[in-house]
Symmetry: C2
Subunit: 346 residues, 2 copies
């Protein structure tokens, strides 16, 4: 269809989107004026603004944030968020609350999953920092020395979320997982339980669930009661893992009168096992979880668990990061307590 002799470039090649310069030319103004219109910055006459916006619309101009971020380092609107995993009701909520808060304020989030592996967090961090983000939100409680160096060198605001770090690199917002486990131990003791077991999946000391388990068993020991047994599966912390873990533990250790599960999913699985085998809860055995998983609402008995203000942590963390970016004062350490909910299963 191309006719020889036809000027090849009436309109700029559509292969590549229009640039600021093309909009400027079409509107008969300088690039700076278009830039000012796009950013709603500085003063532009209404008539000029209208003309520019008309050309923006006509040419389908999409601002190039890469060029913008490149030109002015401080203008980055990118925030990195690293959580343990994407397939978790709790972390999904955390992520959602963060994403909503940040996108409302005009930030984009770049998400990573570290799978409880500090090395994976460090690798992700390296990729992230290459994008020169405005800030970072982390859930990893432990960072590799390399990651710590990178974070320090980046000199950007960062929030360590989820597990409270009383000596944060910058800001920490969360709860104390160790204490949360200890609290459940004291609760079980107060209900007269003495032969107590634990069912979980995490083995790595870097996992927060292990901190809860430590707090739990330390508190028991402090009261002169030894943990009778624990079952740590090599699997995701799922319903089925709870079912199977309960089965394994009960077959191995007899006369247990209470089980602390790594999370509510596993607790629900444990309850399903008890129900299938005619083990009465809480009469024969008590079961408690962690997380305040809403699915527990459909159980015949309210699950004994620790409710976690997940969305609150996410929202506060996002807001703290933005406050830091704006140079507003922010408390270094913010405890957002988890609340033990007695329920009816212990």
């Amino acid at each position: 269809m191309s006719v020889p002799g036809t000027p090849p470039d009436h309109e700029p090649d559509t292969k590549k989107g229009a640039s600021l310069a093309e909009v400027a030319k079409a509107a008969g103004v300088s690039r700076m004026t278009v830039s000012r219109v796009m950013r709603n910055e500085g003063r532009v006459a209404d008539e000029t603004r209208r003309r520019v916006l008309a050309e923006v619309e006509r040419l389908g101009y999409v601002p190039n944030r890469i060029a913008a971020a490149f030109s002015a380092d401080r203008a980055s609107t990118l925030v990195g968020v690293c959580i343990p995993r994407l397939t978790s009701a709790l972390f999904g909520e955390l992520l959602e609350s963060i994403d909503r808060a940040l996108s409302r304020l005009g930030f984009q989030t770049m998400i990573g999953a570290h799978e409880d592996d500090p090395a994976a967090e460090a690798a992700w961090l390296r990729e992230l920092l290459a994008w020169r983000p405005a800030g970072v939100l982390l859930t990893g409680r432990v960072h590799t020395p390399g990651a710590t160096d990178m974070l320090r060198a980046a000199t950007i605001p960062m929030v360590e979320m989820w597990d409270l770090n009383t000596t944060p690199l910058d800001v920490s917002i969360g709860l104390n997982h160790y204490d949360s486990g200890a609290e459940m131990a004291r609760f079980m003791l107060s209900r007269g339980r003495r032969r107590i077991g634990y069912v979980g999946t995490a083995r790595s000391p870097q996992t927060l669930a292990v901190k809860r388990a430590s707090g739990f068993s330390d508190a028991l020991r402090g009261a002169g009661v030894a943990l009778q047994g624990s079952e740590c599966l090599n699997d995701g912390a799922s319903f089925y893992a709870g079912y199977y873990g309960m089965e394994t533990l009960l077959n191995r250790v007899t006369n247990l009168d209470a089980i602390y599960c790594q999370n509510d999913e596993m607790a629900i699985g444990s309850l399903a096992y008890c129900s299938a085998r005619g083990v009465r809860v809480p009469d024969d055995i008590g079961v408690a979880g962690w997380g305040g998983y809403q699915a527990a609402a459909i159980l015949p008995r309210l699950l004994t668990t620790t409710a976690v203000p997940t969305r609150r942590i996410g929202k506060l963390s996002a807001e703290a990061l933005v406050a830091r970016l704006r140079g507003e004062p922010v408390a270094d350490v913010q405890l957002v307590p988890a609340v033990l909910r007695p329920g009816a299963t212990v």
Copy 2:
């Protein structure tokens, strides 16, 4: 501590990370050589490479991907992924499988949630395209005209996932939700069910669950059986919504002998209601879900549901996108069928 007369810049100011040029100077080579070493591209002498890497390490140089992406548009390693929501077991799995596949190949993902609102998808897309991504993965079945224009103008590979689009903008990989619903209808009919109801939450015709519901009721009607009633809550599609929806529907419509639930979470909630009220499943009433949610494994009876190859869709979509980026041939339309799993609840 600053002593007057001290040369102010022995080392470059640490406020800002080292640049390629500084590394080059320190290693006594040109910027290009450093660039080649960092990208493992072109030929560099081992000795030179060692020297450069030593300086990279010493200076803590982090490559600036913004500058890189800016310099060579095609070098973008950013991929946008938009899913309905972050708090969903199924979409969490989808996201995770995509994220793993892409990060292994050296891409970063920028994630968005559109909450079944095409306008939200369009807004997210505008933000994303400003970052000039290498490609996009979408789950929205319906796009606003503006979004379609933007996508076409961007001329980047994109994959429409989850629900199969037989006339995709570029590539579509997924299953047919309408057919999936119809299949369940035929299954229920084959089991002799005739007074059938539906429990869900979605109302917007843009939601895929509504497509399943349509396929379901159309197939019933095609067999001369009318849907006896449906309950659409204004809530998240959760366990509790299933419990409550079941309660509402059964109180409103009598003599139902089967219920199709929007997803497995709701089906489990429905089963919990039945169990609490002494309604026998499947004798008094049949219950089916959708999704192949693994939590169903702990139920006393295997749930009748449609198993969705979520991770497979995610992996195939990521791979298809990368293949398109590399200019390799890719099938436009790839059906990844969902499989009805009879179970024991219908």
